[in-house]
Each structure stands twice: as structure tokens, then as C-alpha cells.
């Protein structure tokens, strides 16, 4: 499967990345060669194979419904680029 510049633009948008025209071209090229290499996977038959989403056969890992101490608001906001009234401030949402 080949990836076009349009595909790259679409994917960049989905990932919230700005690409210049030059970057778009470069990424299209490298992504294409990588994806071409991935074609190798088509050589192996996986019809009867179950996917492995987790290597460990763990199931039913839970915690109890018990309260623990929260983070101090000061610490929660300590890294905030912008804050106001105890909230994180962000530019307008259209």
C-alpha cells in the first residue's frame, strides 16, 4: 500500500501536527519506504492466528472502591503554562 501526500496531510491533521510543504514531501517519502518494507508481513499467513494484545495472560485486575488522598491543587497546577482561578487556561475552542 502506498501513502500519498494527501494521506500524510490527513494523518498529520489527526495527530495535530503542522507540516510545511517540504516536510510533507519528506515524510511522504520516508513513510512510503517504511510501509513498503512492511509489505513483508503479507507473506505470512495469519488466517488462523489469534492476535496477541497482551503478552501476559492477566485478567481481572481491580482495586477497591476506597478513597485516597488527592493531589494538592498547587502541585496539580505547578506545571501549567497558563492558569486562572485554579483552572488550566487554554485559548478559545472553535
Amino acid at each position: 500500500m502506498r501513502i500519498t501526500a494527501n494521506d500524510v496531510e490527513h494523518v498529520a491533521k489527526l495527530s495535530r501536527l503542522y507540516l510545511s510543504e517540504e516536510e510533507k514531501e519528506n515524510y511522504t517519502q520516508t513513510l512510503n519506504s517504511i510501509l513498503e518494507y512492511m509489505e513483508i508481513l503479507n507473506r505470512v499467513d495469519t488466517c488462523e492466528v489469534e492476535p496477541t494484545a497482551h503478552v501476559l495472560p492477566l485478567k481481572n485486575v481491580f482495586r477497591e472502591d476506597k478513597l485516597h488522598k488527592c493531589l494538592d491543587r498547587e502541585l496539580a497546577l505547578a506545571n501549567a503554562p497558563e492558569e486562572e482561578d485554579g483552572c488550566f487556561k487554554v485559548p478559545r475552542i472553535i
Binding site: 485486575v61 488527592c70 493531589l71 482561578d85 478559545r92 472553535i94
Partner: protein
Amino acid sequence: MGVQYETVIGLEVHAELKTNTKIFCSCPTEFGGEANTHVCPVCLGLPGVLPVLNKRVLEFAVRAGLALNCEIASFSKFDRKNYFYPDLPKAYQISQYDLPICKKGYLDIMVDGTSKTIGVTRVHMEEDAGKLLHGGSTITASHYSLVDYNRTGVPLIEIVSEPDMRSADEARAYMEKLKAILEYIDVSDVKMEQGSLRCDANISLRPAGSEKLGTKTEIKNMNSFRSLQRAIEYEVKRQKEILEEGGTIIQETRSWDEEKGITVSMRSKEEAHDYRYFPDPDLVPVIIDPQWVSEIRDSLPELPDARRERLVNEMGLSGYDAGIITGSRALADYFDQVAAQYNEPKTVANWLMGEFLRLLNAGSMEIKDSKIAPANFAALLKLQADGTISGKMAKAVFEEMFETGKDPEAIVREKGMVQISDEDSLAFIIEKVIASNQGSVQDYRAGKEKAIGFLVGQVMKETKGQANPGVVNKLLKQKLDT
């Protein structure tokens, strides 16, 4: 030549679960609280954190599924739903995609005396997002927004219905029944005003008789049952007009504008969401033990429909009245408590549906906030039944009880409201009224039965409403018929 259109409605409902802690961390789920004080690294989505499932969330989800007659999955997992929005700290929501915890359920509704079954496609668990406060009057008018993450990670169940509803009334009935069920099993506060119950509607029209579904629109931002009803009615009308003019419906999300009473397109230049669902590698699958499901099923309380049946069969209430009484667990429980102490279910029901609900609604109050203890309620009804006070007096006493929480005997004593039933005491006043209203007396004797009502009224006036109207009526008739 007009085509008859059939409305097809499906509802997507989110209910916040009332566990003590959030779904993947140990922060409180408590509503309110100062911004960003119910947070921790996990629900803030800080780099390096990991989720751990709150067992009680699973239990509540199974409870809800069972109460909705669903099949409970034996194997279930969590998936990531990826999208960017400032109220979503990890830029993905942990939800369930292809293997939800419950599916293929249903609930029954009653509209205009007819029962109908509405299918429930699925129930799944997911985490809530934070809250956005906007720096202007609307999101689009603001130059900035403020984010409060207290609500991120609060556990939700999403309940998706089959597109089985055919009118706004049915949709409303579905919501009311669903709310009652969730309330009965005590998994959620289900308050639309607080956001612990939310609803989106999918609406489409199709020519009557057609099997194929028409293009649907999704309606959001309906914050009350009334909004839901109005919004659906508006949208149906809007779509009908377009179709009748030969136009096509655009598949889109629309927002209900409560003030203007219209739905507005939320279409933006952004493309449709591609959520890129994949199994969350940080969480392991859940295997449900059928024994555990049995235990949960056994622990479910009597559900609204069963309770309604019981009130009809064992207490002789009408289906309609029983429906209202069992419409909320609080009301049903209160009814049981009063009826236990005053065994006249019909009277109790009438008072609850009438005076009690009236006063609660006027004060925007919930039953748990009312000051009237069930024992006092029962006592009041007894006072009326044994003639100590009249019906009218009882209403007045009731209002005082509602206001102050005092017991009825005390109020009656204080206000000197004991009803006068003693015939000797009334005789003098009756004589006086007859003497001063000869016109009515003659009317009555001439055959106008109704004239006695006027005379009764006059006696009531003289006694400041304290005379027992039944006795007055009897005495008047005795006097006048001779």
C-alpha cells in the same frame, strides 16, 4: 398526495455511577468541590501514569445491565477512543468498543395506556471528561476557556437504545423509566440538572411502511426531560419540512438551543472523527464469573414494573396511579412507609400525587429534603378520616407540616382547627343562616337542590371553615325538609 412519515428515534444515555471513587483512580466522585481539587496524577493523565479498574464500577455496570434485561458478557475489555479536546487530559478516553459489558436488553414503557418494549442495544463502561468554563457567554464567543479536571475519570455507563421509539412521548417515557430503574438499583443519582444523567438523541424519518432507515441527525444539549421532548418535536418537524420539499437530510450533529427552541447545526470545517479505537494495552481483560452475576441478580431490589404490579394487585391502586407512585424510588419508598402506618393505599396515593408533589415541585425539593415524617403523614390522614378535621383543614395542616415539620396534632391544637361536628353546637348557627337566607331556603324548597350548597357555604363562613360540612348538610336538610 402527502407521504406519511414515521419517526425513528434512538437514545444514547450516559449515567454517572455513584461509586465512592473514580473508575481508574482513588479520587472522589463527589459533585462540586473547588476546581482541580479532586484530582491526582492518574486522572490528570500525567506522563507515566496507569489506570487500575475500580471493581465496584464493574459491579454497578452489571447491575444496570441485569436491571435492563441484558446479556452479561463473559469476556470484556477496554479500548481507547482517541481524539483531542482540552477536557480530555490523555487525548483519549478509556471506553469499550466491540466487547461491551452488557448487550441485548430491553425495558418497557407505557404511553397513553399502551405498553411498548424498547430494545437496549448495549451498556458499556467509560470514563468521564473534565469541565470547561468559557470566558464568554458561549463557547464560540470566548477568547479562552478554563479547564477543571475534577470530573475526569468519574465512572460512566453508556446505555444505547435500539431505534425503537416513534415519538417524543415515547422517548420521554423511555428516559423516565430508565431513570427510575437506575435510581431503584442505586447505581446513579441520575440528576439531569447535575449532569449525572445525560442524553443524546438520534432522529430520522422514513416513509411509513418502509424498512430502510432514513438519514439521522444527532441532537445534543438537552438538559431536562422537557427539553428532550421539545427538541425531538422540533427536529422531527424540521426534517419533515425538508423532506416534503424534496430536500435531503444532512447527517450531522445538532445542538438544542433551549432559549430559541431550535436545533442548530454543529458542523465545523473539521472532518468527521476517526477515533482509531484499539484495545487499551494498560488494562487487562475482564472475565465475568456467572456465579457473581447470579449473586448480583439476587441482590437487585424490586424494580419499578414489578413494584407497580404489586401496588395494583396487592393494594388496589389503579395502573396509572401505581405508575406515578413507582416513577421514582424515593416516592415509592415513601408511599410504602406511609401506607404501612395508614392502611388506605388509595388515599395515601392521592395525597402523594396531589398535595405532596405539588409542594415539592413548587419548592424544587426532593422527597428526602421534605420535613414530613411518614408517621406524621399517616397521622394527618387519620385525623381527617375520623372527622376531627375537614378535608379543607387537612390541606391547611399539611402545608404547615411541610413548612415546619411539626406533627399534625400539634398544629391542629395550636390553630384551634378542630372540626365542629357536634350538632348542638351547630344548631344555633344553622338557625341563623336559615333565617338570613330565606331566598335560598325557598329556592331549595321549590326544588333547587343546589341551593343547599350555598347555605352550607354560609354556615362554613360563619364557622370560619371549621364546621363539618357533612354534618351541616345533614342538619340543614333535616331542618328544611320538615
